[in-house]
């Protein structure tokens, strides 16, 4: 009988070991949660209000435009960013885009250009995640850019005149 009890206890050992890993009262390991989606309103193909009322930082926007895992604008657009080689040519050059479009129109095009040009291959950088199809797990529930990053890119583009 005691042998059986010992057997049961041994079988339970791994369980105890696993339980010891998470001591009650300690915070769970921090998981990078996606931020809440900021609603926006388009009027005549423009979003006048900054996402979440945030203020953009143009210098940071320029960095995001270069970053291949963020904006990666250079993949398809020629931009006044001389230190980077090989600017793509799929989309229009953006050297004077701040003259062509005002801030609201630029924001609309970064948030989701497909609302303006249905067949565009430009990624929607701030499309509502639940409207996307077959997103790989790592990026599920997330936008390509955060609201702040969208505002940073918009701030940068408005300087291109």
């Amino acid at each position: 009988m005691s042998k059986v009890l010992l057997g049961v206890m041994c079988a339970c050992l791994p369980l105890f070991a696993a339980a010891a890993d998470s001591i009650p009262g300690t915070p769970a390991p921090k998981v990078d949660q996606p931020e809440a989606y900021q609603p926006w309103k388009a009027v005549a193909y423009a979003i006048q209000e900054p996402l979440g009322g945030l203020k953009g930082n143009a210098a940071n926007g320029r960095k995001i435009a270069i970053d291949r895992s963020k904006g990666n604008c250079l993949a398809c657009h020629v931009m006044p960013i001389q230190e980077e080689e090989f600017h793509g040519e799929l989309g229009p050059a953006l050297g004077k885009i701040g003259k062509k479009y005002n801030e609201g129109k630029l924001r609309m095009r970064i948030v989701n250009i497909q609302e303006v040009l249905a067949d565009s291959l430009m990624p929607p950088f701030y499309m509502k995640p639940d409207k996307l199809n077959r997103v790989v797990e790592k990026y599920q529930g997330r936008t390509v850019l955060t609201a702040q990053e969208v505002e940073d890119v918009v701030a940068y583009l408005t300087t291109l005149k």
């Binding site: 250079l74 993949a75 398809c76 080689e85 090989f86 600017h87 793509g88 040519e89 799929l90 497909q114 067949d119 291959l121 990624p123 929607p124 499309m127 995640p129 996307l132 199809n133 077959r134 997103v135 790989v136 797990e137 790592k138 990026y139 997330r142 390509v144």
Partner: protein
């Protein structure tokens, strides 16, 4: 006034021509977009880095199983009893399942059913090498995938997948390869997404690469969940992608960036 009308007519005619050009664009192999040194590498069998895998495939083709039987027992040591025309038609409708079957799936099935070799995994180095060896027999043949008759619904389903947006970047194959071939994505020139050179050697990864692995690489880039190798979806996508290049000459093993 007359001059203005003439100018307007001229501009209209010009626009119409450009429009017509865009839609009557002929199919061309990704080979035409290569730098001369890469073309030379592909054209010379002694330099072509895909040839190593081909040799491996050739060895598999002639290696007998425990009963002394190999692919070569039926198809000849160099596979010359296989029909190059038939190889160029893949994916074909499978007689048993009445569904399309890819060349690699055929090679895997034959190995398993006739030789009892059940270790060939879809898109593994072995399966790719054997597929490359077989497809190379049809090098120079024109791709000739059936798109009509009983194949129509499968072809249409493949086309739909080709045009369906997916992933966080919300992309579809057609957006790049139908709408923007020849244009630069950063330093890389977009191709028409033709498959006439597959399995091919990719300089970017240094590996013999199958059509479905290439699909995965694009899906990864736009942060979409890929489909499993040999799945219904990838079979349909390969069917459409291959048929998309009907008339192009098979180049296996091609060399691409």
């Amino acid at each position: 006034m007359k001059l203005k009308t003439a100018l307007a007519l001229g501009a209209g005619f010009g626009a119409l021509c450009t429009y017509a050009d865009a839609f009557s664009a002929e199919v061309y192999s990704g080979y035409t977009l290569l730098r001369q040194e890469t073309k030379d590498m592909q054209d010379d069998d002694f330099m072509n880095p895909g040839m190593g895998a081909l040799a491996r495939g050739a060895a598999m083709f002639t290696t007998p199983n425990a009963k002394g039987v190999s692919c070569a027992s039926c198809h000849g040591a160099d596979g010359k009893k296989l029909s190059a025309k038939r190889i160029a038609q893949y994916p074909v409708l499978d007689a048993k399942s009445k569904r399309p079957i890819t060349l690699q799936q055929r090679v895997i099935n034959e190995s398993s059913e006739r030789l009892g070799i059940s270790t060939l995994k879809y898109e593994s180095d072995d399966a790719l090498s054997l597929e490359a060896f077989v497809r190379n027999i049809a090098r120079g043949q024109e791709v000739n995938v059936q798109t009509d008759g009983a194949m129509t619904p499968f072809y249409e389903a493949g086309k739909k997948l080709y045009e369906t947006r997916s992933g966080q970047l919300n992309m579809a194959c057609s957006l790049c390869h139908d709408n923007h071939p020849g244009e630069k994505l950063r330093a890389q020139v977009l191709s028409q997404g033709q498959t006439n050179g597959f399995p091919l050697y990719r300089l970017a990864t240094g590996k013999l690469t199958g059509t479905q692995t290439r699909f995965n690489q694009c899906f990864d880039a736009f942060r979409a969940k890929p489909y499993p190798f040999g799945s219904e979806e990838y079979t349909l996508l390969e069917l459409y992608a291959n048929a998309h290049g009907n008339g192009l000459k098979i180049e296996t093993p091609a060399v691409r960036f």
